[in-house]
Every structure is written in structure tokens, then in C-alpha cells.
């Protein structure tokens, strides 16, 4: 393990070098958006100085869901079944509330087979980061449309998407989600800031990251291609993240910039690019998103935030210590308790 010396590589506040956050070699296609997201994710945890052992990774099934094997090998990871990862993550994070939960899913895994569990994860506000690596297709099964494919977009085969797309962000905001952001695998700066903010959030932090599938959905006619995003990516803010452990306080123009304090005390600075976009107003955010859909623009940035919504474990009123490792004395009532119960049944 690297210790910070003049010669040693750059280390974070834990004294860990970035290599300690690396994973196995990717088996995804060269150029796949998912690979870029993996890089951003491990950078975020590295820079936040979170010990990999404190992170638990969850995924479903798909190319996107394979990626947890390609970053942070020092974190436990659970590659579950298709579309049902949210329930597994919910169970694990109830069992050990001290873990930093990270879910990585795909648009098919989340919005097609998984839409039911996804909705319930958001409603419960399970404290975790939930990244949808959104390419509009089923990559691993060779390119069929998923539920996020935009109406009218086409496959290489010429097939045309004929159903209204599910916008997981609009859906999440409508359902009462507490943190909703969207980004693009190609936007290093924005994605990094959003990822860190998501980690700093105290509930379910949904990040819908457009992540082009170079093999099956990066062609003309796709609305999830690199080309399309270059054209239509419309950030609503310019974001910068200030971690809780950094004390810098640069002053900024409150007219154009706004700062939100996150659950863990970190701050996210939003320099408005779209003047009247307000990520704290659910109804207006909804309306704006629904408008953009028709336009074909891809609104990115912090779309909605309620830093105070209680998370699942708070609602359950759990003890601080992980349920998983409570000693027998705390989980098995005494002989006297059973005697009393038996007596009451006589």
C-alpha cells in the first residue's frame, strides 16, 4: 500500500494511491461509454478518500452491470440477477447501514425488466448511489431497444422505436426521489461532480448517465450516440463539488451561482446555465424535463435535490451498528422473555 512520500504516487486523505481503487481488466468493447463511467466512479471514491472496503457494489445483468468487476476490486460486489438488483441492495444496506452503497445498472436492467424494483428503491430512498448506464439498447443481447429508447430513434437494422421512452429522471422526480441527476459518459467534469455529490447524499442518488453503445447504438438515427449527445447535451448548470473535509470557501456571485449543502456537509456549487432552472422545485423541474423530451434536448446536471428527505434506515429507526454483526446478546432475547411468553400462552 502506497504511503505518501515525495516519490510515491498521488494519494488521497487515507494515504491510498489510485491503484488501490482499480479493478479487473474490462471485457467491454473498446470505446464503450461504460468504461469511461467506471473510470469516473473510481476517481470519485479515490478523491473523496473513501476506503474501498467501505463500499459495496451492486449490479444486475448486462454489459453495464458487468462493470463493477472493472473498478475497485477492494470493494465487495454483488452481480445479482437481471432487473432485481435494487431489492438486493436494499437488503444489504439494511443489514449494514455503514456501507457506502453503489448500484450500477443499465437502461434495460432498470427501465425494462427492472422498472418495478427501481420505483420502489426510489420511494424507499435507500441510501445509495444508483447509476443507470443508459445506451437505449440491450447491449449484452446484441442491441434490441430498451424502454429508454426515444420514440422514433432507429436501430442499425432500421427498426424504429414506437413507444414513448421512459425518462428515468422525470419518473424519479414525479415519484418523490430525493436526488436526481443526469450526465454523459463523455462529460468528465460534470459526471465527476455529480458522482461525488451523489456519494455525499443521504438517500437514493439517481444518476442517469447517457453512455453510448459503440457496437449497437452509436449510428446515425440513434439518440444515444456520441454524435447526438455532442449536439444535444444541454447542461442546466456548471457544477463544482467541495468535499466536507476541504475548508476552502471561494466566494461566488449568488445571482448566477448557488451552493447547496449535502447530507455529509459537502457542498455542490451550481453555476446556472439555464437561468430559471430550480433543482429544488419538483413540479417545475418535472415540467421543464417534459418540455425538453419533445425537443430532443438532453437536459443534464443536477435536476432535483432534497437533501433532507429521510432515508430508509432512518425510517426504520435502526441502531447505529450494522444489524449484520450485532452480537448474540443483542439479538437473542433472554430466557426470561421466553418464559413470560410461554406463560402468556397458558
Amino acid at each position: 500500500m502506497a504511503t505518501p512520500t515525495a516519490a510515491a504516487p498521488r494519494t488521497n486523505r487515507l494515504g491510498l494511491a489510485v491503484v488501490e481503487y482499480k479493478g479487473g481488466k474490462t471485457t467491454l468493447c473498446a470505446g464503450c461509454g461504460h468504461n469511461a463511467i467506471s473510470e469516473r466512479i473510481l476517481d470519485a471514491y479515490f478523491e473523496l478518500g473513501i476506503a474501498p472496503e467501505q463500499v459495496a457494489k451492486f449490479s444486475g445483468i448486462g454489459c453495464s452491470s458487468k462493470t463493477p468487476a472493472y473498478f475497485m476490486s477492494r470493494s465487495h460486489s454483488f452481480n445479482t440477477v437481471h432487473g432485481r438488483m435494487p431489492s438486493v441492495a436494499t437488503g444489504a444496506l439494511m443489514a449494514n447501514r455503514t456501507l457506502h452503497g453503489l448500484g450500477v445498472s443499465g437502461d434495460g436492467d432498470t427501465a425494462s425488466i427492472g422498472i418495478g424494483q427501481f420505483i420502489n428503491l426510489l420511494r424507499r430512498n435507500v441510501a445509495m448511489v444508483y447509476v443507470v448506464e443508459n445506451n437505449g439498447v440491450y447491449g449484452l443481447t446484441k442491441g434490441q431497444f430498451s424502454a429508454t429508447a426515444d420514440l422514433g430513434s432507429t436501430l442499425k437494422s432500421g427498426a424504429v422505436a414506437d413507444l414513448p421512452a421512459i425518462d428515468v429522471c422525470a419518473l424519479a422526480i414525479q415519484l418523490g426521489a430525493s436526488f436526481v441527476g443526469r450526465s454523459f459518459s463523455g462529460d468528465k467534469k460534470q459526471l465527476s461532480a455529480l458522482l461525488k455529490a451523489a456519494v455525499a447524499h443521504g438517500g437514493t442518488a439517481l444518476l442517469d448517465v447517457i453512455s453510448p453503445c459503440v457496437t449497437f447504438n452509436d449510428h446515425e438515427g440513434s439518440t444515444k450516440s456520441y454524435a447526438w449527445l455532442k449536439e444535444h447535451d444541454l447542461p442546466v448548470q456548471e457544477l463544482s463539488f467541495v468535499p466536507s473535509f476541504e475548508e476552502i470557501a471561494i466566494d461566488y456571485d449568488p445571482g448566477t451561482t448557488r451552493e447547496v449543502t449535502l447530507h455529509d456537509g459537502s457542498r455542490l456549487r451550481l453555476k446556472k446555465l439555464e437561468a430559471d432552472y430550480d433543482p429544488s422545485d419538483r413540479a417545475r423541474a418535472m415540467a421543464r424535463l417534459m418540455a425538453s423530451e419533445s425537443g430532443g434536448d438532453v437536459l443534464t446536471g443536477l435536476l432535483f435535490l432534497d437533501p433532507r428527505a429521510p432515508d430508509l434506515n432512518a425510517r426504520l429507526g435502526l441502531v447505529e451498528a450494522p444489524l449484520a454483526t450485532l452480537p448474540e446478546a443483542r439479538v437473542r432475547p433472554s430466557r426470561a422473555v421466553l418464559d413470560a411468553i410461554n406463560a402468556s400462552l397458558r
Binding site: M1, E20, G24, A51, P52, E53, Q54, A56, F58, P68, A69, S73, R74, S75, H76, S77, F78, N79, T80, V81, R84, P86, S87, V88, A89, T90, G91, A92, L93, M94, A95, N96, L99, G116, Q117, N120, L312, N313, L316, G317, L318, V319, P322, L323, A324, T325, L326, E328, R330, V331, R332, P333, R335, V337, L338, D339, I341, N342, L345, R346
Partner: protein, 609 residues
């Protein structure tokens, strides 16, 4: 069967004129009419008089207004299985009264609502018309209340006719309405009205009760509450569920117990109970919690188990502890949601595609609902796999007499888990390596503070280090280990219970068939002079003793409550082919709890007697 039981049976063989403490009472009513507390008072009164009792509720799959039958068996011999024939009928439901009466055997008693005029139906029964409306009229002016109180009137009438001790009736009533003095007084007056009426009628039947001392120290509980207590004392920490009859009360009562006994001084919970959106989510949460190290469970019934098939396979292959209590009901599909069955054995044993095998436990009493649900957590963590506890509606939702639930004497077995210190000592580990020769690898829990603690859990092919692998040799080695692990469970699961030895024939059963089979053994012996030994299997895969039992008998009658002889099927797959021919099927699927008489008749028929 104990010799005491035997004698007991012999003594009544020539049916005495007065039938004391040996008959069944059936109350026919409609659900939602409030008869439940009346029936509870009856049951508890008998129990408090020291007389062995059991109560079975036959209710419809709706909320109110349909026919319901509550049967109380009084048995001085201690038989608690359903008795096929009804001796004393309380006919409160006009809709079914005629059928109910038609089904009685000669000499039976009918207490009924006078306006139904049932007396004309048969001449071979003792009819006791009761003018319920007239009797409750003075008790309350409120029509809604009167509707409820009518039920207490039949308690009074029966108390009078059968000779229940009034003091015990009042005590029982006190337990039911203790908290509500107003209700208590009203109901007492209704009972007294019934008693008064009974005092005026001439008794024309042999049925009566008499104080005994056979229930001292015993408790009354239903299997679902017992299972909940089993989980409570096994230190369950995560409970997820989706409501479904007849399993709902497992979690509802468990939640109550947890709220009462598992909060810290400052009110924090050492448990999580979460109602999921469906069974796929419920089992997913259990798998996630078990993976993270919690003692996690869910409770469900057939349709829920079917929905859990995919996750059950993940649990098996990724080797994650999970406890699933399946309170079986009649299938296929939605089937008869409020009827009992043992029809999920095969589908659960092979739940999920591709060479998946699951561990099954078969509680045969409310005590075992308690102990086995507790053990299930130890086994799930020891074997790192889902464990299914197959209870059923009869066990789970009916009231049973039982010995006090025993406090677990062994510490929790949390299975093979490596902590930080272990890893520092070992310098690392391989999640799926069979280091101990039992097919069980060591696992670590997420959050373990050691750079070598992490491993990657997946439902895809993996090597000993949990790395992804499609290699044929790696896959085969892993699958062979999983089978070794499964085989190893045979010796660790609850062993069969064998009674008797040396008889030429044997009976073999599981789960809630036990009381009926034990009574059938007594009947076979006492009535047909046919001694039989008995093995009750308590888990799958089967212990070696099962093989020995079959080998020791010419014919083994496999008694079960399903259509397709699923227990016999699992035995057929497990036994040496040379023994399979000895098995005979006694499979019943009526939706009613099994009764001894049907078993006895079937065995005698196949024995050519």
C-alpha cells in the same frame, strides 16, 4: 405410539353409553360474524379444565359473509388431529345447515337456531333448537351487538349441555375480553342466557366433559406465531415479506414480538421489517441481507415461492444464506388459498433451473415451527444457501396445544465467516475453495476492514477466487463441490423421528400429517391388530436413517397431503432402487387437515384387510 396411548384407545373400543371427553364440536357460521371469540372461549374453557383439545378453523377466501366451520376436538387420549366425523354440530348458518346436518353420523347432536327448523330433517339425531334471537334480545338493545352476542349464547348452551365448568368459562371469557369490562359483562350475560336455556332442556345425548389433568403446563399457540418466536430467538435481524394467506401472520406476529423485545432503551431497533412490493423483491432483499451478514428471512406461500424461483437459484449458486418460511396452501396456481396442503415439495426441492437443489425442513408440530425456524438460520449460515421451512395452513393458522417453547440451548451458529483478524493471520482467502473438505468455503462480509477481504459475488460461472470463469473444468469442479456440500447436509439437518421397531410394515410421513398418523397407528393396532412402525422425516435431503427404516420393513406407507405423492417421489429419487418397490402411496388432498380414520382405512385397504 406410547403404551399409554394404546391402552387409552383400547379402553374406549366398546363405545360406552356416556361419551366423556372424546368427541368433536363443529360450529357452522359465516365469517365476520364474530364467532371467533366465542370459539376461543370454548377452546380455552376445555383446555383450562385439563382436557386435551385442538381447534381447526375452516374459513373461506374472502373477508365476510361466507360459510365458516370451526371444529373443536375434545380427546381424553390426547389426539389432536382432525376427527373426520362431527359429534356435536352448532348450526348457526342457514345457508349450510341442511348439508351440515346431512353429513352427521347417527347419534350426533345438533344445536341450532330454532327458526331453521332442522329437526324435521333426520330422526337419528339429537336436536336442540335454540331461540337465539329471543335469548339475546334482553342482553342488548343494539342490533349490531346482538349479532355478535348470539355466538356467546351457544357457548352458554354448550356449557350447559356438555357440562363445562362455568367458573372456567368465565375465566376464559376474562382472557378474551379482559381489557374491555363493558364487553366482558355483555358477553357474560349472553353466556348466562345460554346456560339458562340449556338448564331447561332435557339432555338426550351421551356427550359430556369432565375435568382432567392433561394440559397442565401446556400452552396454546398457532404454528405461525411459533415460527415467529423461533425467528425472534434465533436473532433474526432482517425480515422482508409480501402479504399472502396463510403466511401473513408469521411476519405480523414476528413484527409485534420484535417491536416489544428488540428495541434498545432509547427505542432504536435491532431489526428491520420491510413490506416489499412483491415476492421477487422480498427474496431479493433477503439474499442481499444474508450476503451482507444479517440473519434474514421471508415468509410466503405457493404463489410467492414460484415467484422466488430465479432468486432461489442465485442463492444456491452464489451461496448466500436465506430463510424462507413457506406456509403451504392448496395449489396449483391461486388454488384454495384458505385450505391446507403439502403440495410444494417437488417444486421447492428443485426450485430454479439448471441443477439447483434446495434444503427443506418439515416441521411437524407447533414446537417444531419454533425450533426448526430457529435452526433454519443456523443451517442457512452454516451451509451458505437458502433453507425452506415447509409449514402449512393447518399447522400455521390453527390453535394447537403444545409444551412450552424451549429456550435454545446452543449459541447462534453464524457459519464460516472470516474477520479482519483472520485475514491478517491468513493473508487472504479464496471464497469458493473447499479448504475443509465439506464443500463449504469461507466467506467475508462487506465492510470488513482488510484490503484482501473483498470478493465478487455472481450468479455466473466462477472459480475458487470468485473470479468470472467459463472454463469447463472450473465449472465442473465448482458444481461437484456444491453437490458435496448438499450431501453433507444430510447429516446436519434435523434427523427423522422413528417410533416403534420390529413391525413388518411402516408408515412414513412428514409435517402436519404427524398427529393423524400417530392416531392411525393406534387405530391400526387397536382395531385391526396391525402393528406398524413410524418414521417422520423432518428434512430433505434425507438422512441415512430413512434408508434403514425402509430397508427394515416389507411395506412402507408414505402418507402425505397432496395429489402427486411428492414425498414418495423424493424418496424414490433418494433410495436405493432395490428399496423403492417397498413404498406405497397414501396421498390425500382434500384441503382439510388430515384425519386418522382416512389413513387407517387406506392402509387397511392396501393391506387387504
Amino acid at each position: 405410539m406410547t403404551t399409554a396411548e394404546l391402552e387409552a384407545t383400547r379402553r374406549v373400543a366398546p363405545r360406552a353409553r356416556a361419551v366423556t371427553n372424546d368427541f368433536s364440536i363443529q360450529v357452522a357460521t359465516v365469517n365476520g360474524s364474530g364467532s371467533q371469540s366465542a370459539n376461543t372461549v370454548l377452546l380455552r374453557t376445555l383446555f383450562q379444565m385439563g382436557i386435551p383439545v385442538s381447534g381447526k378453523n375452516l374459513f373461506p377466501s374472502n373477508i365476510a359473509g361466507l360459510p365458516t366451520w370451526y371444529t373443536i376436538r375434545v380427546s381424553r387420549h390426547g389426539w389432536v388431529a382432525r376427527q373426520r366425523d362431527v359429534d356435536v354440530l352448532v348450526a348457526m348458518n342457514g345457508e349450510t345447515a341442511r348439508d351440515d346436518v346431512a353429513g352427521l353420523r347417527p347419534g350426533a347432536v345438533v344445536v341450532y337456531d330454532a327458526p331453521l327448523e332442522l329437526e324435521s330433517l333426520r330422526s337419528d339425531l339429537a336436536f336442540y333448537p335454540v331461540p337465539f334471537d329471543d335469548l339475546v334480545a334482553p342482553v342488548s338493545a343494539d342490533a349490531r351487538l346482538r349479532k355478535l352476542l348470539r355466538n356467546m349464547v351457544y357457548v352458554g348452551v354448550l356449557a350447559g349441555l356438555l357440562g363445562l365448568e362455568v367458573a372456567e368459562v368465565e375465566a376464559a371469557l376474562g382472557r378474551v375480553f379482559g381489557a374491555k369490562p363493558k364487553a366482558l359483562a355483555l358477553n357474560l350475560r349472553a353466556i348466562q342466557a345460554g346456560l339458562a336455556h340449556a338448564a331447561g332442556v332435557e339432555k338426550r345425548d351421551p356427550y359430556r366433559v369432565e375435568r382432567m389433568d392433561a394440559t397442565r403446563g401446556k400452552i396454546i399457540i398457532d404454528g405461525n406465531a411459533a415460527a415467529a418466536l423461533g425467528a425472534l430467538f434465533a436473532g433474526v435481524t432482517v425480515v422482508t415479506w409480501y402479504p399472502i394467506t396463510p403466511s401473513t401472520s408469521v411476519v405480523e406476529s414476528l413484527h409485534g414480538y420484535l417491536e416489544e423485545h428488540r428495541r434498545t432503551a432509547d427505542g432504536q431497533a435491532t431489526f428491520a421489517v420491510l413490506q416489499a412490493e412483491d415476492e421477487l423483491a422480498a427474496i431479493g432483499m433477503v439474499i442481499g441481507a444474508g450476503w451482507a451478514g444479517a440473519r434474514a428471512m421471508t415468509a410466503t406461500s405457493g404463489p410467492g415461492v414460484s415467484l422466488m424461483a430465479e432468486f432461489a437459484g442465485l442463492g444456491y449458486f452464489a451461496e448466500v444464506p436465506a430463510v424462507i418460511v413457506n406456509v403451504q396452501r392448496v395449489g396449483p396456481s391461486t388454488g384454495l388459498p384458505t385450505r391446507t396442503s403439502q403440495g410444494d415439495l417437488l417444486s421447492t426441492a428443485f426450485l430454479s433451473h439448471g441443477d439447483t437443489q434446495q434444503l427443506l425442513l418439515f416441521p411437524g408440530s407447533v414446537e417444531e415451527c419454533f425450533t426448526m425456524t430457529g435452526q433454519a438460520f443456523d443451517l442457512a449460515e452454516r451451509f451458505q444457501t437458502p433453507v425452506f421451512v415447509l409449514s402449512d395452513l393447518d399447522l400455521g393458522m390453527n390453535n394447537w396445544m403444545a409444551d412450552p417453547l424451549p429456550y435454545p440451548e446452543t449459541p447462534l451458529d453464524r457459519g464460516k465467516v472470516l474477520g479482519k483478524a483472520d485475514l491478517e493471520r491468513l493473508g487472504g482467502f479464496a471464497r469458493y475453495k473447499d479448504v475443509d473438505g465439506d464443500g463449504i468455503g469461507w466467506r467475508t462480509l462487506p465492510g470488513t476492514d482488510h484490503p484482501k477481504a473483498a470478493y465478487f459475488t455472481r450468479g455466473t460461472g466462477h472459480d475458487e477466487q470468485a473470479g468470472y470463469s467459463e472454463r469447463s473444468d472450473v465449472y465442473q469442479k465448482n458444481m461437484a463441490r456444491l453437490r458435496r456440500k448438499f450431501e453433507g447436509a444430510r447429516a446436519a439437518l434435523p434427523p427423522p423421528v422413528v417410533t416403534g421397531a420390529g413391525a413388518r410394515i411402516g408408515l412414513l410421513a412428514h409435517g402436519s400429517s404427524d398427529p393423524a398418523v400417530r392416531e392411525a397407528l393406534a387405530q391400526l393396532h387397536a382395531e385391526a391388530g396391525l402393528p406398524a412402525d413410524y418414521l417422520r422425516v423432518r428434512a430433505w435431503p434425507f438422512a441415512a436413517a430413512v434408508r434403514d427404516f425402509v430397508a427394515a420393513h416389507d411395506r412402507v406407507y408414505v402418507v402425505e397431503q397432496d395429489r402427486d405423492a411428492q414425498l414418495l417421489s423424493l424418496l424414490t429419487l433418494d433410495l436405493d432402487p432395490s428399496l423403492v418397490g417397498r413404498l406405497r402411496s397414501v396421498a390425500h388432498l382434500t384441503g382439510m387437515p388430515l384425519d386418522a380414520r382416512s389413513v387407517t382405512e387406506e392402509v387397511l385397504a392396501q393391506e387387504g384387510r
